[in-house]
């Protein structure tokens, strides 16, 4: 099939970017979206032009590196997948495809379609852990039984891949879904209780410092999240935060 691509090109963080048009022939429907971009890049290189830089790594939907806004939607038109899992059979011959980087003040563009998501790392560093040192003799893993339902819920929150689609989809560029997923994972486990209050306060403080927007409960993040992280997590974080604040 033949495609008309509009792609954001930006030399580096300090340059101004712009949309550039490309026409691409010979795209097959069982190619992945990123393989389609590989072909475009091969063409650009053979013409002596600089290829389009985009973030990607595992290409199986788990590392969370790929991050493209495709026709106005994070990770493209399909649901519950990342860009690398999107296949060209979701498009038709002659389609125009607009490809942009995630847009958020907290995610500055590094080059072309690549953005800096270290804000997410800093939120995690602020408290996304249980303070336990490595030692050869902790408590036996089965010493604390955990209700299956709770363990499953905690797991579901923990499946967040940190791709940033929630921020990209949110009209306010809010990072509440990301932050609440980590807060929830630990809030649901007995191991996470000791530091629960401190954790939620520190992580929310860091989230605010990074310049993400406020949650207005539109639910766009949940719809676009490739792992289907639930809005329940945001409510849980609100609850945890309020009770932590009230307790002082």
């Amino acid at each position: 099939m033949k495609l008309y691509l509009k792609i954001w090109r930006q030399k580096d963080a300090n340059s101004k970017g712009a949309m550039v048009d490309y026409t691409l022939n010979g795209v097959e429907s069982d190619m992945s979206f990123l393989e389609m971009l590989d072909i475009l890049n091969e063409e650009l290189i053979s013409k002596g032009e600089e290829p389009v830089e985009f973030d990607h790594d595992c290409r199986e939907g788990i590392c969370g590196t790929c991050s493209l806004m495709i026709n106005g939607r994070p990770h493209g038109p399909d649901s519950r997948i990342t860009v690398c899992q999107l296949h060209m059979r979701s498009f038709n011959d002659g389609d125009e495809i607009v490809i942009e980087p995630w847009r958020a003040t907290a995610f500055p563009v590094i080059k072309d379609l690549i953005v800096d998501r270290t804000a997410f790392d800093r939120i995690q560093q602020a408290g996304g852990y249980i303070s336990v040192n490595t030692s050869g003799r902790p408590v036996d893993a089965n010493a604390i039984p955990i209700e299956k339902d709770m363990a499953d819920k905690s797991f579901n929150a923990a499946t967040c891949i940190g791709c940033g689609a929630c921020v990209a989809a949110c009209k306010n560029a809010s990072a509440m879904l990301f932050t609440s997923a980590k807060v929830s994972q630990f809030a649901l486990l007995p191991q996470g209780q000791v530091e629960a209050a401190e954790r939620v306060q520190n992580m929310v403080r860091q989230m605010d410092l990074e310049g993400f927007g406020n949650c207005t409960n539109t639910g766009a993040c949940e719809v676009e999240c490739p792992k289907g992280i639930s809005l329940e997590n945001i409510a849980r974080m609100n609850r945890e935060y309020l009770s932590a604040s009230v307790k002082g």
């Binding site: 097959e28 600089e50 595992c58 199986e60 080059k111 790392d121 039984p145 363990a151 923990a158 940190g162």
Partner: protein
């Protein structure tokens, strides 16, 4: 030819690790504050090592090429992590895990290391649960287990199909805690381009900031390489796109021996290649072999009809199908180790029984599991005489609960519903058992340079069992390296900070700059990927699932020629002082082009078949691998001398004091 000393402690097997820990030198906490350690790679091994070293008090600098440590490819491991907990009460023990691993590795690993791995495996589960890793649980609230290939017990802990992700996020969280404390300085989007030796000791690295293109010098008292495996040598693999051998290969060129490069794991259950545009292959977890049955048609004409689209697999009756693993290996059936399953698939496809357009696919069929689970579910929910449709539906629900995410992943890629029609699978490169040679302390042949996880050669011999990679990465990182490294660093308590202004750093930086300059000066027309794909084809066709002397010799020649062409002609647009993905790829492929040659040489010199290394000249009448313990019961550790094919062999003899060497049989 030299002989290598593993420095494995003496004494009874079960006491070696404890004895060693008691005897090695320690660094007191106050002195640890004056010692810097560089950790390159932040996957399971690197992440856990960095966190633990920082907890102990060392100043740690971590480096990863990804934008966050959390993205290392350990994250993609699906199935699980082994541990000899014996929670299921099915007779598991540290010894049995040790024995299974040695046997699974076809008797080409070091007894003392493997026993230590089995011994600390139980600590891993305790540690990870304490960190809040949400492993799967039973209704009683206790941890659940599943079984994996090559073993007869259930010892695999898992978190749905995302075990690697959960374990990596655990290690990443532990790292984050230390970053917050200021004990780890994390350098992301940085790539190590060389190892710096001062007075024969590893004292730092040269790294490139991938965003700005700046070349940076970083010094430390020791350098840990945890940079994963080199399967991307084959271009198509289940590795992530960025996985590379650069760090290990640079260390190799500086004096670290590279061990058993030809020991590569080809995983039997991957989604087959669909076309030339393919950039990577996707694994379907081995756990699927618990319930899926692997088959091809019995008759050649049926296979032909299926390839041409005239016949559907579901139209073939039971007796028209060849469940070849069950036929050949009745004891283990579909759960034979990976090397055996992969070779068997290749054998059937080579014989003309392949079932996709290219003839390189076999079926993984869940129909009988669906019906079996459906019946069980109908019975337990008190249904009397349910019809077939109901049973099928109930069964599909059970299968969905177990493997839903994998089935969905398959459907997204292939556009076929695996509940209704059998999955098509084919083997693909998945893991490399070879890597930097390390002694019992995980130190390479360069003092102060350590290797952990997949980057080292240890523990898995010639074939790795499922769910053992996560185990080894975390064992090395959490429980082994942070302690054994103290033995070396105890001599460095008075050294003080290492200067980066020394001539050695200067020399290394100049060499790195020259190399980049040279890469950028190619005047040809082909991109890096063009060369990488060519290399991959040579590797897959001539150094893949089965090898012979003639083709290996051809491969050595072809790779050398390709390398020459690459250095003269590779085309890299853009500049060297900015973000440049093509330049990054070029540096990696340049090293693969050297490693490929050593790989083929190693395979050529190992005149036996063992584990993932199958030489066509050395097989039994039934086509099983024929090992030669008399002549090849050793680790091949190669010393770099300037040209990969001229590398010098050093042997580490493998001594089996506790296990009797046997022909591996899964019949």
């Amino acid at each position: 030819m030299g002989i290598l000393d593993s420095k494995a402690p003496s004494g009874p097997l079960a006491d070696k690790w404890t004895k060693h820990k008691n005897e090695i030198d320690l660094v007191n906490p106050a002195n640890k504050r004056n010692i810097d350690v560089i950790v390159v790679g932040t996957g399971l091994a690197g992440g856990s090592a960095a966190a633990t070293l920082a907890e102990l008090g060392y100043n740690v600098k971590t480096f990863c090429y990804q934008d966050s440590p959390r993205r290392a490819h350990s994250i993609a491991a699906q199935g699980g992590v082994n541990a000899a907990k014996n929670y299921q009460g099915d007779g598991d023990s540290v010894y049995r895990l040790f024995y299974d691993t040695i046997k699974g590795g076809d008797y080409r690993s070091r007894e003392a290391n493997v026993y230590r791995l089995a011994e600390v495996s139980t600590n891993i589960i305790d540690q990870c649960v304490a960190q809040g890793v949400p492993f799967a649980r039973e209704y009683g609230g206790l941890l659940d287990n599943r079984s994996f290939g090559g073993v007869l017990v259930s010892r695999t802990f898992y978190a749905k199909g995302q075990t690697g992700q959960q374990l990596l996020l655990g290690a990443y969280a532990a790292m984050n805690r230390q970053i917050q404390r200021g004990k780890i300085k994390s350098y992301t989007r940085h790539e190590m381009l060389d190892l710096v030796l001062v007075d024969g000791k590893a004292r730092g690295i040269i790294a490139r900031n991938l965003v700005t293109g700046e070349i940076e010098r970083h010094s430390a008292h020791a350098v840990v390489l945890a940079t994963g495996g080199y399967g991307n040598l084959f271009f198509l693999s289940t590795y992530c796109m960025g996985a590379n051998v650069m760090a290990a290969w640079r260390a190799h060129r500086r004096g670290a021996y590279f061990a058993n490069p030809c020991f590569t794991q080809i995983h039997p259950t991957c989604i087959p290649v669909s076309g030339d545009h393919q950039s990577k292959l996707t694994l379907m977890s081995e756990s699927l072999r618990n319930d899926g049955r692997i088959w091809v048609p019995k008759r050649l004409e049926d296979a032909q009809a299926i390839r041409e689209g005239k016949l559907k697999p579901t139209q073939l009756a039971e007796e028209e199908r060849d469940y070849y693993l069950e036929r050949r290996y009745p004891a283990f059936g579909n759960l034979v180790p990976r090397d055996v399953a992969s070779r068997a698939a290749k054998e059937r496809c080579d014989a003309g029984f392949g079932v996709n357009k290219t003839g390189e696919a076999v079926y993984l069929d869940f129909a009988s599991a669906i019906m079996r689970y459906g019946k069980e579910k109908a019975l337990t929910s008190g249904m009397k005489d349910p019809d077939e449709k109901t049973i099928r539906q109930l069964g599909e629900e059970v299968v969905e609960a177990k493997y839903g995410n994998l089935f969905q992943m398959y459907e997204k890629i292939v556009d076929e519903n695996p509940y209704k029609t059998p999955m098509k699978i084919y083997p693909a490169v998945h893991y490399t058992m070879g890597g930097l040679w390390v002694d019992y302390n995980l130190q390479t042949t360069i003092p102060g340079c350590y290797a952990a996880g997949e980057a080292n050669f240890s523990d898995h011999g010639a074939n790795r069992l499922g769910a053992s990679a996560l185990m080894q990465g975390l064992a090395d990182g959490y429980f082994v390296l942070p302690y054994t490294i103290g033995d070396y660093l105890s001599d460095d308590i008075r050294t003080g900070p290492i200067s980066t202004d020394s001539p050695e750093f200067e020399e290394a930086e100049v060499a790195v700059r020259d190399r980049i300059q040279k890469l950028m000066s190619g005047r040809g027309i082909h991109s890096v990927d063009y060369y990488h794909k060519k290399l991959g084809k040579i590797m897959w066709n001539k150094c893949g699932m089965s090898r012979n002397a003639k083709e290996l010799k051809e491969a050595i020649k072809e790779i050398a020629e390709l390398r020459k062409d690459f250095w003269e002609n590779v085309k890299i647009p853009g500049t060297l002082d900015s973000k440049n993905q093509e330049l990054e790829k070029a540096g990696r492929v340049a090293d693969f082009l050297e490693l490929g040659e050593l790989f083929a040489k190693d395979a050529l010199e190992r005149n036996e078949s063992c584990g993932g290394h199958f030489r066509e000249e050395y097989q039994t009448k039934e086509g099983e691998a024929l090992r030669d313990d008399e002549n090849f019961k050793f680790v091949s550790a190669w010393e770099y001398v300037g040209d990969p094919s001229a590398s010098k062999l050093h042997k580490e003899d493998l001594v089996y004091e506790n296990i009797e060497l046997k022909t591996r049989s899964y019949k």
